[in-house]
Symmetry: C2
Subunit: 341 residues, 2 copies
DNA sequence: CGTTTTTCCGTAAACGTTTACGAGAACACA
DNA sequence: TGTGTTCTCGTAAACGTTTACGGAAAAACG
């Protein structure tokens, strides 16, 4: 069925070594023979077997992205990742690399699946998301010397890997600034409970901004919940119990914000009227929710391209002239003012 | 770095053939030696090189899903696919298969990328989505004899492949029934312009239901648009120009519905009050939009599991006792009544 | 004890590539 | 003519597996 390099060689009456060299554009092959080989390859519909090639070269020419659905509403996908992956794919394709997305089951933190990818050499490098403050995946990868990059920072693994993150600290701070400027003094913060790193960054920014404005940080206004709609629904009432209710809430996640707004609605509190609501990472849901949620928006597609670039620069086989520079970048989030605050 | 089967053999002072047999659970190996091999494998952290294995066996033990982002709003992902992929992955994992998602660039219809996957043998089978009425990908795959399954039907490729689709015809029909029961007679339909097959199915159901109710099908109430928000925004006004305006619109896609509602709002027409709006495939966006959109909901995660099952049954290496039965299934869409109609 | 069967394992080929090495031919140069 | 260089190609090994085959040893059987 599939034509191999042997078929080509036999057909052209020429050795397989020469065919391979011709195909791979090496210098030591006659221009005429190369032309014949390329023609024959097209005619016989030849394309190299990836397994054979990978085995010989020790490289698969593909990058794996570990996609980790959160447990929760089955109808709710991660609209966040598609634009990011689009950018990632585009840049990788320019360097002849394939992007493969490895799905995990919801809930498990993909350590096992990551091991499989690494140990069976399914990809030449790996891209991680949802980085945690202490992330065993990062420890594992640095320890095993497998190339990787992360979307998001972590404390784990030293400094020796490319990462790209959003400036959650500044977003948390900006969100507070904006609310204070609009007259709020009692501002609540709701973030994911797992030790996802961006939750800490956000809270740091939130705290610092409050202090800067001379507002005391009230632990009763800070709550952690599971990172989905149910989590937001469950945890939001906790910051509303104090006699001195907050007049604003910053949600560190869109799904949690939606659940939170549901809880508020059941208490008869209307976002945009009775309380100001700000969301740190914007998604289409924020835009279409009513009231439309003021949110901080990332540039996902360019971020995907950029992280691909950074990863490539760290891969020996692709490192540019300036060599293997490990880059870490933090990108801004842009405020999109809407109706909810 | 990576330990090979040779390392194991050397370490145990035993031949690589025996090691391989022990690892693969073949019968002709002594129970004692098997135990030693498995222990050593764990100790040396051995796992088989996938390239070597694939090369020898001619199978990669992985299934590829071709993910095709639509061009359009960069912030808008395809929340549709994540639950589906979650189900697909779960079932495949049970049979020891990996799911890899191959991303395409937005816009191109992935024919080229599909060829790459097939010809370089990156996967043992392929799962396609967004099937078109005449689908060159399906023609290509049937012609080349490469195993595949589709999410969605098509006219192409004969009957010889497993497919799972939603009953868009019934949904279109049900939507009309419901609207007629609520007193509507002028019902518009808006569907994607590309020859995506579900657009035809939907329209068939829509037409048949109208006829059944003795309502004449008015071509002025049917419009095609690009399958994203901009498309819905652009095309919706076209069905609103007639002197005898529709009192209801059925959108065949959530993003188009959102764009359409924006256009309606600009005309001062309020969905749920001045006009009834129904959406054929429900997504979280429909639920959170205001007014919440009445929509037909698919059971995505079970569908993913089921399609994996069907694909497995068609793969020689996995076919159950009853052999290679090709199955085609059509799953119902469940009405979720909300505020928009 | 002789013969047959079973158990277990080693040998080696094969999958489809890439690439180090070397060799023959052509050419250049003195 | 002799020597060195350049072009071009064939040979064969190697990547890490799996598996058909055969054979030695052990067990079973008469």
């Amino acid at each position: 069925m599939a034509s191999s390099i042997h078929d080509l060689a036999r057909h052209l009456n020429i050795s397989i070594g020469t065919v391979s060299r011709a195909l791979n554009g090496r210098a030591d092959v006659n221009a005429e023979t190369r032309k014949r080989v390329l023609e024959a390859a097209r005619a016989l519909n030849y394309s190299p077997n990836q397994s054979g090639r990978s085995l010989r070269q020790g490289a698969t020419r593909s990058i794996a992205f570990m996609l980790q659905p959160h447990p929760g509403d089955q109808q709710y996908g991660e609209p966040f990742f598609i634009p990011f992956l689009t950018g990632l794919q585009a840049r990788l394709a320019e360097s002849g690399l394939d992007l493969i997305v490895v799905m995990g089951a919801p809930g498990d933190y993909q350590q096992e699946r990551l091991r499989r990818v690494v140990e069976t050499r399914r990809a030449d490098a790996v891209v991680l998301a949802w980085t945690r403050r202490e992330d065993e995946r990062i420890d594992y990868l640095t320890e095993s010397g497998f190339p990787f990059a992360t979307l998001g920072r972590s404390r784990s693994g030293g400094k020796a890997y490319p990462s790209l993150d959003l400036d959650f600290e500044k977003a948390g701070s900006d969100a507070v600034d904006r609310l204070v400027a609009r007259g709020h003094r009692r501002i609540a913060a709701i973030r994911p409970a797992l030790n996802l790193n961006f939750g800490y960054l956000f809270l740091d920014g939130y705290r610092k901004a409050l202090k800067r404005h001379g507002i005391e940080v009230d632990p009763g206004l800070i709550a952690d919940g599971f990172i989905n709609e149910a989590g937001g629904y469950q945890v939001t009432p906790r910051v509303m119990v104090s006699k001195d209710r907050p007049t604003a809430i910053i949600f560190n996640n869109d799904a949690m914000a939606l659940g939170g707004c549901k809880a508020l609605a059941e208490m008869g509190i209307r976002p945009g009227h009775d309380i100001a609501v700000t969301v740190i990472v914007d998604t289409p849901l924020c835009r279409y929710f009513s009231p439309a949620l003021t949110a901080f928006r990332p540039a996902l597609e360019p971020m995907g391209r950029r992280l691909a670039e950074m990863l490539l620069a760290a891969l020996p086989a692709f490192a540019g002239p300036e060599g293997t520079r490990i880059i870490r970048e933090v990108w801004p989030l842009e405020l999109v003012a809407r109706e909810s605050d």
